[in-house]
């Protein structure tokens, strides 16, 4: 493949297709086994980030490359100090001016002296992108840059991409969000299972054909659960939240979920959605309000164990850090919350464990060689299925899903969606948090929109549109100015 100056070249493929590896090679983090990268007709010296950067190839990796204890300015300059070196001294004033300039360029006003660890995820992502802009770049690699950005922030990033493009910078853009690709890209390269599949002009493709290239098979297009179960109105709610508040995080949150219902929770990153979910599940404390579960209020100071015992389940936001014990086996991960079930008088009973593990793997369609394989050997989508699967076995009455398809490829995404619908059909109440509007729209019976810690509105799932959700999600000032 090749990248031309002044174009946005999108890189697509399911998880595990080799995109991230390719990017790591291009940016000099790791060495390829064979092959070369040509740069202006000459082979590029690989394996050293510095020499690659010196050629003007800069990468923004999927995980924000930030150092939480350092302030924004230092973050921008670490590893690139040569830009501000005067003799043996770092020139702080140069650093300051340059940093301000870059961040202003990105449309961000960040306090330069605040440790980045105290900033929001989106701000961190901005700092991470800012790092790449410090140098005069000729090729910019963006790996899932919008994963943790809200719609508004993504918008300003897209603008920036356009400007850079006009300046003649070649951009390699990786994203799972197909809408973005169709909006930004000039050409698309598709990878599958570590091999090149095709490179084509975006104009010659539509969503279906692109997906087909990526998965190598047909996928039924998204259906929408058009029939929200009407009778659910009469049933008592599984969960009722009354005036839940936590100072500085969320305020006066009240809602209820019926069994069999999928309640979507939409809003910008930082609107307090995950925090509410964590409070319900007993991870974080809250200051005021009441959580009524199955008709009786949860006592103050309840813990995760209490909620799990009572039949709640949560798929946390960060799969690798919070969802899985990666080096342990698929089976162990699947059975981790239910271990006490297999406790015999002489110890854990291996046979029923094996059987349950196997049946879960089949039920969820987890692709693994054996149940004894470590979870980290699986692709992102399959890992996510484990995280969901470990709760499926317990037949939860309330299922909280926080960004269940973040960083999951299209094929697996469909399967996750199918699982969520199945769960609801079996009578579980589902609280779905997602930043992807199509996902929320296609799954939810009802949608709550949050903004700055308060509920801004509630829409029936089959009546909502993307524009509506976005409008509600934006803070007042921005809406007025927009």
């Amino acid at each position: 493949m090749d990248i031309r100056p002044g174009e946005v070249h999108a890189l697509c493929g399911e998880n595990g297709a080799g995109k991230s590896t390719l990017i790591k090679i291009l940016s000099g983090v790791i060495l390829p086994n064979e092959g070369t990268v040509q740069w202006d007709e000459t082979p590029l010296p690989l394996g050293r980030v510095h020499s690659v950067e010196a050629h003007g190839i800069l990468a923004v990796h999927q995980e924000p490359v930030v150092f939480p204890h350092l302030n924004a300015m230092d973050n921008l300059f670490v590893g690139r100090e040569s830009a501000a070196l005067r003799g043996a001294w770092l020139d702080k004033s140069t650093m300051r001016t340059k940093a301000r300039e870059i961040l202003a360029n990105l449309g961000e006003e960040l306090p330069l002296t605040q440790p980045v660890g105290d900033m929001s995820l989106a701000q961190r992502q901005m700092v991470s992108i800012g790092r790449a802009l410090l140098h005069q770049c000729r090729i910019l690699i963006l790996d899932e840059p919008t994963a943790s950005l809200s719609a508004r922030e993504s918008e300003s990033l897209f603008e920036k991409v356009h400007t850079l493009k006009q300046q003649g910078v070649g951009i390699l853009y990786v994203s799972h969000r197909l809408e973005e690709i169709f909006r930004l890209a000039d050409r698309v390269t598709v990878l599958r299972d570590g091999a090149w599949v095709t490179t084509a002009d975006i104009a010659s493709l539509n969503q279906e054909t692109l997906i087909q290239h990526m998965v190598g098979r047909d996928i039924p297009s998204k259906q929408r659960s058009d029939v929200p179960s009407e009778d659910s109105e009469h049933r008592p709610p599984v969960l009722e939240i009354k005036n839940l508040s936590r100072e500085g995080v969320f305020e006066n949150i009240s809602f209820g979920i019926q069994p069999g219902e999928i309640l979507g929770m939409s809003g910008l990153v930082g609107a307090g959605r995950s925090e509410i979910a964590r409070a319900i599940f007993g991870i974080d404390p809250f200051d005021a309000g009441e959580i009524i579960y199955l008709g009786s209020p949860l006592s103050k100071g309840f813990t995760i164990q209490d909620t799990i015992q009572a039949g709640m389940a949560m798929v946390p936001e960060d799969r690798q850090q919070q969802g899985l014990v990666l080096p342990l086996s698929v089976e162990t991960n699947l059975l981790l919350p239910s271990l006490s079930e297999f406790q015999g008088p002489l110890g854990l009973k291996p046979k029923p464990m094996r059987a349950t593990g196997q049946s879960l793997i089949e039920k969820l369609g987890i692709k693994t060689e054996t149940p004894a394989h470590p979870a980290h050997s699986l692709s992102g989508g399959n890992q996510q299925k484990i995280v969901i699967g470990k709760w499926v076995h317990r037949h939860p009455k309330l299922f909280i899903l926080d960004e269940p398809t973040r960083g999951v490829d299209v094929g697996a995404k469909h399967e996750v969606h199918r699982l969520v619908r199945e769960l609801a059909a079996q009578g579980s109440a589902v609280l779905l948090i997602s930043s992807e509007l199509p996902e929320i729209l296609s799954l939810s019976d009802r949608i709550l929109v949050l903004c700055e810690g308060t509920i801004r509105g509630e829409i029936k799932g089959n009546e909502a549109t993307q524009e509506q959700l976005l409008k509600l999600a934006l803070p007042e000032e921005t809406r007025r100015s927009a």
């Binding site: 980030v49 690659v52 150092f67 350092l70 300059f77 590893g79 100090e81 001294w89 770092l90 500085g248």
Partner: protein
């Protein structure tokens, strides 16, 4: 912006306390002043210049090593071999200059001592960065092994004939201020420059703060780790040179338990063991506080009983620092 709103609703006294505790140096400094106030009421002799000078001289080597160890902790590693390293370096230095053993000129001996310090530091660093052994294991092994080497170097007898040239480093003064204090001052200035005004310093913080991001950013993690250990080795050598010649006899027990004191100082000074966090002013206050405590206990004239409880009091001080930390982070969150 939510932060400011919360801050405004908190009572000012509590806010001040939070500020002091979160700026470790300021909090420790106030605590030191408080301690000074109490002890000088009980026994005004404490505030005499000579006494303060003595405390400073005792603190100097600890301070010098702490400057190095802080960087090790900031980079996300630990070094608990400094005590034994000092023992070995003292033995080597003594053996080199002693008239009955090596009889080298002091200048050569100084350079060689520093060189040995750097070499041991490099060995530590190499094992950590390139052989991939966890630093606590490497330096725990070194803590034991170097003590054994020291015994072998000393060979059962002590060095009692240090020449005046070397003794001057420990007992001499320049403009009325002991050499060791000048050295400590120099080391502090160099460390400040290293931390704030060089790429190396900023990168050390970066690799400790988020190693994976450092890897993606292409930072030279291994050389940097090698550097912090070598730097600590060098500073241990410097500390040996200015503190051991304060005494006339080099014995084989020099530096026993020093690693615990230094780690305590650095941690009380607000450096995170998990890396990425730590500042020199906090560490300096930590050093002063920890070296002061035992002197303060003596000056309080609490009697024989206090002797037996002094170690317990030191332990409680560290626990106090931890609890304060915990409290502050909780206050910050809510």
């Amino acid at each position: 912006m939510t932060d400011t709103t919360t801050a405004n609703t908190t009572p000012p006294l509590k806010r001040a306390l939070i500020f002091l505790l979160s700026h470790r140096a300021a909090g420790l400094f106030l605590f030191i002043l408080l301690l000074l106030g109490i002890v000088s009421v009980v026994n005004p002799a404490f505030l005499e210049v000579q006494n303060l000078k003595d405390i400073a001289v005792q603190a100097a080597p600890v301070c010098i090593i702490s400057c190095g160890l802080m960087l090790v902790l900031v980079s996300g590693e630990i070094d608990i071999s400094v005590g034994s390293m000092m023992g070995l370096l003292a033995a080597c230095m003594g053996a080199m200059v002693s008239e009955s053993r090596g009889h080298l000129p002091p200048g050569t001996a100084i350079v060689l001592t520093l060189g040995i310090g750097v070499v041991i530091g490099l060995l530590n660093g190499w094992l950590v960065a390139y052989a991939g052994v966890p630093s606590i294991i490497v330096t725990l092994g070194m803590l034991t092994a170097l003590r054994g080497v020291t015994e072998i170097v000393m060979g059962g007898s002590w060095i009692t004939d240090l020449p005046d040239g070397i003794r001057f480093l420990g007992t001499g003064a320049f403009m009325g201020v002991p050499i060791s204090l000048w050295t400590a001052l120099g080391v502090i200035l160099i460390s400040l420059w290293l931390i704030h005004r060089t790429a190396i310093g900023r990168r050390i913080y970066a690799i400790g703060s988020n190693p994976h991001a450092a890897y993606l950013a292409g930072l030279p993690i291994r050389p940097l780790k090698l550097f912090v250990f070598a730097w600590t080795g060098l500073l241990t050598g410097v500390a040996t040179l200015v503190s051991v010649p304060q005494l006339s006899v080099v014995d084989s027990g020099i530096g026993v338990g020093l690693e615990l004191l230094v780690v305590t100082c650095v941690v009380v000074g607000g450096t995170a063991v998990s890396g990425g966090l730590g500042n020199l002013s906090g560490v300096l206050c930590g050093v002063i506080l920890m070296t002061m405590i035992s002197t303060v206990l003596i000056f309080m004239k609490l009697g024989e009983n206090a002797t037996y409880w002094s170690r317990a009091i030191q332990g409680l001080f560290i626990l106090g620092a931890i609890i304060a930390d915990h409290w502050i982070s909780r206050q910050r969150k809510s």
